[in-house]
């Protein structure tokens, strides 16, 4: 069983790396169109958001299927979300602003969509740092869990960041916002049921 799980984990790891491999390959072989920097910045951001959504999908799937093993992949998927978010951030800092700290600061203060995206990234950092077994032990399960509820705020901020930056056709970010509300709605309903069950 354990060996089986290790293999599966390796597989999920490789799959999660595919967007990175594809983007690097496409960038090097000039397949990202006329504005490749804009394309990789956008795509890494999108992948970060997608991985956050996948981590939030684990619990519902677990409950619906009754297969608890799914939770074993959540940490890795969350770390991949941070990986893609970091790439997204680095591309913005390096290739959009050329490490001009002054300019970046002005951007963060003045542009609401960047403010929101930046906060979202900052909030991911403590979750990443506390992702190890050691940290979970040190914090204690309850406190750790409380801290990691931040992911709900992060997913809302990230999809709002996406919504705000799109110029006119909001269809795509609206689809993401819908998925976010479904995932959060699932939890609200679950909570209520538990409360009712406890009350009756």
């Amino acid at each position: 069983m354990k060996k089986h799980l290790t293999r599966l984990k390796a597989l999920v790891f490789c799959i999660s790396l595919l967007p990175f491999i594809w983007l690097s390959y496409a960038l090097l072989t000039d397949q990202l169109g006329a504005n490749p920097i804009e394309a990789v910045t956008r795509d890494t951001g999108l992948w970060a958001l997608r991985f956050i959504l996948v981590t939030l999908l684990i619990s519902p799937i677990r409950k619906l299927t009754g297969i608890n093993e799914f939770i074993r992949f959540r940490r890795m998927l969350g770390l991949f979300a941070f990986f893609y978010a970091s790439l997204h951030m680095l591309l913005y800092i390096g290739l959009d602003q050329f490490f001009d700290v002054q300019e970046i600061w002005v951007d963060i203060i003045k542009r609401p969509f960047i403010t929101v995206g930046f906060i979202s990234f900052l909030l991911l950092i403590p979750l990443t740092i506390t992702s190890t077994d050691k940290m979970i032990k040190r914090l204690g399960g309850r406190r750790w869990k409380k801290l990691h509820y931040l992911i709900y705020l992060i997913v809302v901020l990230s999809s709002v960041h996406f919504y705000m930056l799109v110029k006119q056709d909001k269809t795509e970010p609206l689809i993401y916002l819908l998925i976010v509300s479904l995932l959060l709605g699932f939890r609200v309903v679950g909570q209520r049921r538990r409360h009712q069950a406890a009350g009756s």
Binding site: G33, A34, N35, I37, E38, R111, F113, K167, Q168, D169
Partner: protein
């Protein structure tokens, strides 16, 4: 119950060519013919080299910049043309055969003028002296290109219509035809696309009616067969696929002002000092370059156009 009786000449629905396939017939023919030879064909719809009919005896314009040209491939595959979809790739994928050049393209000129008229595109370009003009194009999104347009000054055409004293603005309208322009099936903007210029802007010698680029007729995705080019304004002012030009007394309510008046103004002059509410306009990424460059006031055309706005508060009239 109503039973539809078939005429003897009717063919069953199943034999009718799908409209999309019909629209793409040339692509299909090219594809089928090229398939044998082109095992190494790139996964792109658009040509890397110019394909349209070439114009002859083009005059070279003194207004041209000597900057490095953006590649034909970039100019024709990275397009904002919402009539064919809101992403950059859809226009080149869907407008390759737009418009049907076997059909006449008419441009109506009317409104406050003494000689309104209907112009056939083919006759119009026969009657004008076409020139090549290499202009910078700055998109409101923060990227730019250098494009060798083919065209003639808008003023030459407007003068023919003899605008009267009430003509304070010129309004332009894009074709509305959701059959040919699939992007118009969704109301992303209030179709048809509408743009406008103040009379003196329209008469400025820099303002061009473009009918081609890289010496050949305009590709569909770049606004065929005829479009406006106003190089000191953000790209969206340079309306594509024009069917109507109207002289009006009041400032036209343009498509982007209708969509979002707090973000897009009537003037929309390129101005590094006035930010878009959501992003800075201080710098731009020239397509094909790695580092961003500083954006120039009036996109570098201040010598020709700054006086049009003397005394105007450009922060207010953005």
């Amino acid at each position: 119950m109503w039973i539809r009786k078939k005429h003897p000449w009717e063919i069953p629905e199943s034999e009718v060519t799908d409209y999309q396939v019909y629209l793409n017939r040339r692509q299909f023919i090219n594809g089928a013919a090229g398939l044998a030879a082109a095992t190494a064909m790139p996964l792109s719809f658009a040509a890397k080299e110019p394909t349209g009919a070439a114009f002859e005896n083009l005059q070279q314009s003194g207004f041209s910049t000597e900057e490095k040209l953006t590649t034909y491939e970039s100019i024709t595959t990275y397009n904002n043309f919402y009539e064919f979809g809101t992403d950059k790739e859809s226009p080149s994928a869907l407008a390759a055969n737009f418009p049907d050049r076997s059909e006449p393209w008419m441009i109506n000129i009317d409104g406050e003028c003494d000689k309104p008229g209907q112009y056939d595109y083919n006759e119009l370009i026969q009657s004008q002296t076409l020139e090549e003009r290499i202009y910078r194009l700055r998109c409101v999104e923060g990227w730019s290109m250098v494009i060798p347009w083919v065209g003639f000054p808008l003023a030459d055409l407007l003068k023919q219509a003899q605008p009267n004293s009430k003509a304070k603005f010129v309004e332009f309208t894009t074709l509305y035809d959701p059959e040919q322009m699939p992007g118009q099936r969704r109301r992303v903007l209030n179709w048809p696309y509408l743009e406008g210029l103040r009379m003196d802007e329209a008469m400025n010698p820099l303002t061009l009616l473009a009918v081609g680029l890289y010496g050949r007729e305009m590709p569909g995705q770049n606004g065929a067969p005829i479009r406006l080019v106003v190089p000191w304004k953000y790209g969206f002012k340079s309306i594509k696929s024009i069917v109507r030009i109207r002289f009006v007394e009041k400032m036209p309510l343009t498509a982007w002002v209708q969509a979002n008046a707090s973000e897009y103004g009537f003037y929309s002059n390129v101005n590094p000092e006035v930010d878009h509410p959501r992003w800075s306009q201080r710098r731009e990424r020239r397509i094909g370059e790695f580092l961003k460059r500083e954006t120039l006031m009036f996109n570098g055309y201040g010598d020709q156009v700054a006086e049009l706005y003397s005394g105007m508060d450009l922060k207010r009239y953005f």
